[in-house]
């Protein structure tokens, strides 16, 4: 029997959705486990000591998966440890690859986020105007510390060089299963690639007029998903519901358009795109009868960059 593949898994700053997608593999997970030696899976499946991970020789782990984004110094530290220990490091899911939904916080300063959480929210009771501090003496004798909270969110991929990127919020469990199989079989593409089928959401979407042998019509008006009901089998974008399918990788098999909801781009950019949001705006503006319709889109930064703001050229709101 060939030697087992050594695998490590780290969740940085995320929702654990990617972890749960791995758990959702269910019986399939039990099937592949015999071929894997899980040397580190924080925090559940393997109780391997962190100090043991640090003590492992650099490059001694075959494959590392990292999910989540980086907001705290500790997350940055651990991501760097993972990079050193793993021969191949895979950013699992859109947070690790591009920043994800928590990356939208980059539209706001750390101060704004703190002000909202600790002063402005309706149920907040803060008579002394306190804000959590990294160092604090409680009752004059209990010294307590908190880790540092960075000004901005970053993707794992921008903190260390990852070998592969994956999209999805989270990736579908079947996609993770296929990726794990590819890893076990050593069938990985060149380093630096996205693990993807390479198709756009539109390419796999039943609503795509091209796949139905029809002409694509230009967008006449902008609609919110609450404006009426989309017609069955008709392209959502064509009907005016902003859908990021044209520029998003379709490894999801267009699950959102299949239930009458537009794509929001969690799959990551189709190959060759540097700035997801910019490309999305230009692709969509180009499908409009009148480019000025773009002005009717509410809160465009949080639509076009919903999953990718920290990885955009600007990285967030500048001032």
């Amino acid at each position: 029997m060939p030697e087992k593949v050594k695998l490590a898994y780290l969740l940085a700053g995320g929702c654990a959705g990617c972890d749960m997608a791995v758990v959702d593999l269910s019986e399939t997970l039990l099937d592949v486990l015999p071929q894997l030696e899980i040397v580190f899976w924080a925090p559940t499946v393997a109780d391997v000591k962190y100090k043991d991970l640090e003590a492992m020789p650099d490059g001694s782990i075959d494959v590392g998966l990292v999910a989540g984004m980086v907001r705290l110094s500790e997350q940055e530290h651990m991501v760097k440890v993972m990079r050193r220990k793993c021969k191949t490091l895979i950013a699992l899911g859109i947070c690790a690859s591009m920043g994800g939904i928590p990356g939208m916080a980059n539209m706001h300063s750390k101060k704004e986020i703190f002000d909202t959480a600790y002063f402005d929210t309706f149920s907040t009771d803060n008579p002394e105007g306190v804000v959590p501090r990294t160092n604090c003496l409680v009752d004059g004798k209990y010294e307590l510390t908190l880790p540092d909270f960075y000004e901005k969110v970053r993707s794992v991929a921008s903190v260390v060089d990852v070998d592969y990127l994956t999209g999805g919020c989270p990736p579908h469990h079947s996609f993770i299963g296929a990726a794990l199989t590819a890893v076990l079989e050593g069938k990985l593409p060149p380093r630096g690639s996205w693990l993807t089928g390479g198709k756009a959401v539109c390419d796999v979407c039943k609503r795509n007029p091209a796949l139905q042998g029809k002409e694509r019509e230009l967008i006449q008006d902008i609609k919110r998903v609450t404006d009426g009901e989309p017609e069955q089998d008709k392209c959502l974008l064509q009907e005016g519901y902003i859908c990021l399918g044209p520029v998003t990788q379709g490894d999801c098999n267009a699950q959102c358009p299949n239930v009458n909801m537009p794509c929001r781009g969690c799959g990551g950019p189709i190959p060759g795109v540097k700035d997801f949001g910019l490309r999305a705006v230009s692709a969509i503006a180009a499908s409009m009868t009148d480019e000025k319709l773009v002005d009717k889109i509410d809160c465009p930064a949080k639509l076009f960059y919903r999953y990718s703001l920290p990885s955009s050229i600007l990285g967030g709101k500048l001032k």
């Binding site: 019986e27 559940t44 109780d47 998903v225």
Partner: protein, 486 residues
């Protein structure tokens, strides 16, 4: 004064840690449960159209994959002052109950049962899901995972995706259920009910029939005396999707009921300088610091709170299991936090029965899935019983439904005070004369484990063992010993 720092994954995720202070005799002087959970959702949701909020806030937690989604879409209904259509309401309930099944299953098998099945003093290396599967056998392990996956599949059919669903819209649901899909869900629901029955049987065989474990369940070291908040219907039966939120005091006396925005009359959140997470308390009693007891202003939520505030379940098998709990446990509110796991197992069965009932109802395939929307009224509160307890989503918008302000109080936050008390009590009980050994890791872990998924939820950890680091400092503040279980 010595400080012992128990650091659950802080360097990995930076989400939470525990600091225990010892006096000169080496006994516990105080303990703090600190949370580092702030991703700024309340701020960055501003400016977004309310209908985009459910699929966005779902990512607050991937373990709680169905709850932020459901609470926020209820809030979005309120923002437009509409109710979901009868069919959409059924679909949403089906979705939430399927989530209860898969989530409670994950919590119990990965988190609760290993302590009992593998043993409370077993090596940390085997006291986990894998160790549990080794003991119960791979066949049983596979059966559990397969049946849990049936619940995940139901969520995928309804929500469009297995995780972070997309089909909810204000006033309804974006997708109809076909008759074929209903049949599939009905078939899958059999797995869910079997999973519920099987799980209660495991609990009975392993815990209830074991005198030593029952002493642990009913012992004083794992006890927090506080108020309880949960949701019931008019018959006082537990509800998850909607109902009246009821508060009882530590003696079991009802002290209030609220709905929607009235939560602000009862609950406030205190900002603490030493935690990124606020600490809620009941306004009526006023802020009284972090202490439990008859006059405490702290309250907790979740399965134990629901057991304490309600009078049972609206499905037959779960009601039967509830009555058995009542016979076994002392009358009145139960403050023993290990009972959380038992209540959780009964709820799993209840949710499974509800899934079956809803799938049996042919009308769930009806075409009325969306209520037309008018102008937004500008404010909406959505409250549900999340798997881990009461969850509040509150939004203010303009007349077009664009979010201007928002407030979220999640189960983990409600439970922050009680968790702090539980940890302090266990530490006080087990740390004597400065003696700290590996056993303390287990004992302190067991004190917060009943709530742990709340913690895991907030810290984005998987259900399961929380890695701990204990640093023991000398009087000069230098580390003289470090222990880790990870």
């Amino acid at each position: 004064m010595k400080r012992i720092e128990i650091n659950p994954m802080t360097r990995l995720e930076g989400h939470g840690k525990i600091s225990i202070f010892l006096n000169d005799e080496g006994n516990v002087d105080n303990a703090f449960f600190q949370t580092v959970e702030l991703r700024g959702y309340e701020r960055f949701l501003r400016g977004m159209p309310i209908e985009e909020v459910p699929r966005t806030v779902s990512t607050i937690c991937g373990v709680c994959r169905g709850v932020h989604y459901t609470a926020s879409v209820k809030a979005a209904d309120a923002v437009y002052n509409v109710a979901p259509t009868p069919t959409a309401r059924k679909i949403r309930e089906l979705f939430l109950n399927a989530h209860y099944v898969e989530d409670h299953c994950a919590i119990l098998y990965a988190l609760g049962f290993p302590d009992f099945v593998v043993g409370p003093t077993a090596s940390p290396a085997v006291r986990n899901l894998i160790g549990l599967i080794e003991i119960v056998g791979e066949q049983t392990g596979r059966a559990v995972l397969k049946k849990r996956r049936s619940a995940v599949r139901i969520m995928e059919i309804l929500g469009g995706r297995p995780l972070h669903a997309v089909a909810a819209v204000p006033g309804g649901w974006s997708k109809r259920i076909s008759e074929e899909e209903r049949q599939e869900i009905l078939e899958l629901s059999r797995d869910l009910v079997e999973l519920g029955q099987m799980t209660l049987q495991v609990f009975e065989d392993v815990v209830l029939k074991n005198k030593q474990f029952m002493e642990l369940v009913l012992g004083d070291m794992y006890k927090v005396v506080c108020n309880y908040v949960g949701t019931v219907d008019e018959q006082d039966k537990l509800q998850y999707y909607d109902g009246i939120h009821k508060i009882v005091d530590p003696a079991g006396k009802e002290i209030g009921r609220f709905q929607g925005k009235e939560y602000l009359d009862y609950i406030a959140e205190r900002v603490l300088p030493w935690s990124y997470q606020k600490m809620p308390y009941l306004k009526k009693a006023g802020w009284q610091d972090i202490a439990d007891g008859d006059n405490t202003s702290l309250y907790c939520v979740g399965p134990l709170a629901r057991y304490n505030i309600g009078s049972g379940f609206d499905t037959p098998l779960a009601q039967e299991a509830y009555e058995k709990m009542k016979e076994t446990l002392p009358p009145g509110p139960v403050h023993n936090i290990m009972v959380y796991h038992w209540a959780r197992a009964v709820e799993l069965l209840n949710a499974a029965e509800k899934v079956r009932q809803l799938a049996e109802d042919e009308s769930i395939t009806a075409p009325d899935i969306r209520t037309p929307l008018g102008e937004a009224v500008g404010e909406g509160v959505g409250i549900i019983e999340a798997v881990r307890g009461l969850l509040i989503h509150h939004y203010k918008t303009d007349s077009r439904g664009i979010v201007e302000d928002c407030n979220l109080i999640v189960a983990t936050t409600h439970n922050k005070g009680p968790i702090n008390v539980a940890i302090r009590r266990a530490a006080d009980h087990f740390i004597k004369d400065g003696k700290v050994d590996e056993g303390i890791l287990n004992m302190v872990e067991m004190a917060y484990r009943p709530y742990d998924l709340c913690l895991a939820c907030a810290t984005h950890a998987l259900p399961g063992r929380s890695p701990l680091q204990i640093n023991i400092y000398d009087a000069q503040g230098k580390i003289y010993e470090t222990m880790q279980n990870f």
